[in-house]
Amino acid sequence: MPHRWGMTVDLDRCTGCEACVVACQAENNISTVGPVEASRGRAKHWMRVERYWEGEFPDVQLKFRPVLCQQCDVAPCEPVCPTYASSHTDEGLNAQIYNRCIGTRYCANACSYNVRFFNFYNPVWEKPLHLQLNPDVSIREQGVMEKCTFCIQRINAGKIDAAANDRELRDGDISPACVQSCTANALVFGDLNDPESAVSRLSRSPRGSKLLEDLGTQPKVTYLERGSWQESAGTRNG
């Protein structure tokens, strides 16, 4: 059975430290654009931590929600791409084929989660960041869309390593940069087709929900959060 990669994001654990954001930026050669361009909405964050304030001052609550590509099973970004640059892999990932992308940006408009980013300029890195580029990840040129890949280079490396050592891929062999760097262990990655994997077990948690689930996109990222009704009932699920 092919793999079906998924992730759980435990909002009860997330501290909003944004280590995942930095790790993603470094791992995937995501170019920074500087403060001026960032303020114009040109920053690229395959992983971002959304902050939502709830309530009125002084009784306010801050909530963090790390948002990355939800790797939808029914992805709105895929059918709209005229050139198949945005397409589904056998392992359920929403892949972006940079060489095939002509930059219509239709995928980004269709995506309900706004997790696709356009390269408004050719990428540049402030010195000395140019010395730390990841050789396993290709650089995207001007006019091309890019997005979270679930660190596909790490998935492939994990599979090659397992094959070279003549063994099956084990749960936890592969972890994307964001998962690896999460200090609170809020992010868990794995194979949803393996019912015993940590991510499968967590995905079945009653605390789980999908982002914008009503749109029918069937995301493979599950958010875990204790609901207010659970708190009031004094239960501690998950």
């Binding site: 909405g41 709209v80 050139t83 002509i102 408004f120 001007q142």
Partner: protein
């Protein structure tokens, strides 16, 4: 009679004034500025525009939809008028068909201008690639590619067919290189009954065929938006709404162009107040229809009260985009309605004022469909806004100049009013081919 027709209408073709060169220079200069702005965008990157996350479609796409809408002036209106055999249509049809051809050419450039990597636009063509990759037929952009090309091809044919007898007329009067060129263009037209019969049937077939094509084109353009699960894009009303809007803006553009031609080429004897009044009535009808569609679209969203859609809804009714929305309502309905509906107010100048308002209002409508939805997508964290930069504004202005330039140039090449169709109109009782043939030969005879 025939001679007066021909000499009046052929004058711009044979006589070139200094004004013509000045106009071509000014318009050509603006078009070159637009080309330079696109070059600037290509060279420095798409970042020189005001586009941003999350508003990834904005002014270029607005202009695309706007110009494709304007293109419905022609073909659709002229085809309908031909099919219902409205006799007053005769001086109007060619004006309209020319708008169609040029508006389509200009409109079809915007999907290329808006690409991140326009040099790879050929990926949309289903060419035999060595890797066996085809375009994605599930994508509305691919549907667009085929729909617009079909429409462009058929409207060029629809434009060129009734030009043949007029090309022959110029051929008979011209000398030298011009005679050779027009001999080629008129494709051996002699005005025999057989040829007239074939032209008439071909025109009839084209008029019938082009109606569904025109309707489908703007429906497919609307699918670019309505197929995506984006608040207030994902609507079943978009197909007919876009087609109605397209015809609406098309008639308005036609009235403006006709008024300009009337002044510039001294066509007061041909483009009569009657034509403006009739087109004004059509515009009034479309204004009502457009108002009905907007009311429908807004009411169902408001009544449905879906939180995602309401964010877009209020941003256009009372929020950031409200000034544009209410200007649109003013331009598309409040101003044109009394100007066109009240009989005492009807005149050429009021029709032109109403039409200018409608053209501006319909441009705003396209903008308001595209941008607010993207600025207010489903999660409030990723809300944004959009302010255009000079790059896309210059390109937009240049697109209007390009329309004017092409129109000025084409008025040099063909009579802007179909001469043979007018002649047929002046002898309504006779059978078409014989009369025109007679006229044709006498006209040629007098010349010789």
């Amino acid at each position: 009679m025939a001679d007066r027709l021909a000499s009046d209408l052929l004058r711009p073709v044979f006589q070139t004034t200094g004004k013509f060169y000045a106009l071509v220079a000014v318009l050509g200069g603006i078009v070159l500025c637009g080309a330079a702005a696109w070059g600037y965008q290509l060279y420095y990157g798409f970042g020189v525009t005001g586009y941003n996350w999350p508003v990834y479609w904005a002014l270029h796409e607005t202009n695309f939809v706007f110009w494709i809408g304007i293109s419905h002036a022609g073909t659709l209106i002229s085809a309908i008028l031909r099919l219902v055999n409205a006799t007053w249509r005769r001086p109007v049809t060619r004006c309209a068909e020319i708008i169609t051809a040029f508006a389509l050419m200009i409109g079809a450039m915007f999907p290329i201008i808006h690409l991140g990597r326009p040099w790879l636009a050929f990926f949309l063509i289903p060419y035999p690639s060595e890797r066996g990759i085809w375009p994605n037929y599930r994508s509305p952009l691919v549907w667009d590619f085929f729909a617009i090309n079909t429409y462009l091809l058929s409207s060029l044919l629809f434009l060129a067919l009734p030009m043949i007898p007029d090309f022959a007329l110029i051929r008979d009067r011209a000398a030298g290189l011009r005679k050779k060129v027009y001999s080629l263009l008129s494709m051996g037209w002699q005005g025999t009954p057989k040829q007239w019969h074939r032209l008439e049937s071909a025109m009839h077939i084209m008029a019938l065929a082009i109606l569904p094509i025109a309707v489908s084109v703007h429906t497919i353009v609307s699918f670019d938006f309505s197929m995506a699960v984006v608040p207030m894009w994902h609507s079943t009303i978009f197909g007919p709404y876009f087609v109605a809007g397209a015809i609406f803006s098309g008639i308005a553009a036609l009235i403006v162009v006709m008024a300009l031609l009337r002044k510039a080429l001294h066509l007061e004897a041909y483009l009569l107040p009657l034509h403006f009044e009739n087109l004004g009535k059509l515009l009034l009808l479309m204004s009502l229809l457009w108002g009905y569609f907007v009311f429908n679209e807004r009411l169902t969203v408001w009544y449905g009260n879906s939180p995602h859609e309401m964010n877009v809804f209020w941003s256009t009714q009372t929020g950031d985009f409200a000034p544009f929305f209410w200007t649109m309502v003013l331009c598309n309905f409040v101003i044109p309605f009394p100007l066109l509906a009240i009989k005492k107010l009807r005149s050429i100048s009021t029709a032109v004022i109403a039409s200018c308002c409608v053209v501006a209002g319909m441009w705003l409508e396209r903008f308001l469909i595209i941008v607010p939805s993207l600025a207010r997508k489903s999660t409030s964290y990723s809300w944004g806004t959009y302010t255009p930069e000079w790059t896309e504004i210059i390109i937009m202005v240049a697109s209007f100049a390009a329309m004017a330039l092409l129109y000025v140039l084409v008025s040099k090449l063909v009579p802007i009013i179909s001469i043979w169709e007018l002649k047929v109109g002046e002898h309504p009782k006779s059978k078409v081919p014989a009369v025109v043939r007679e006229e044709e030969t006498t006209a040629a005879g007098e010349l010789l």
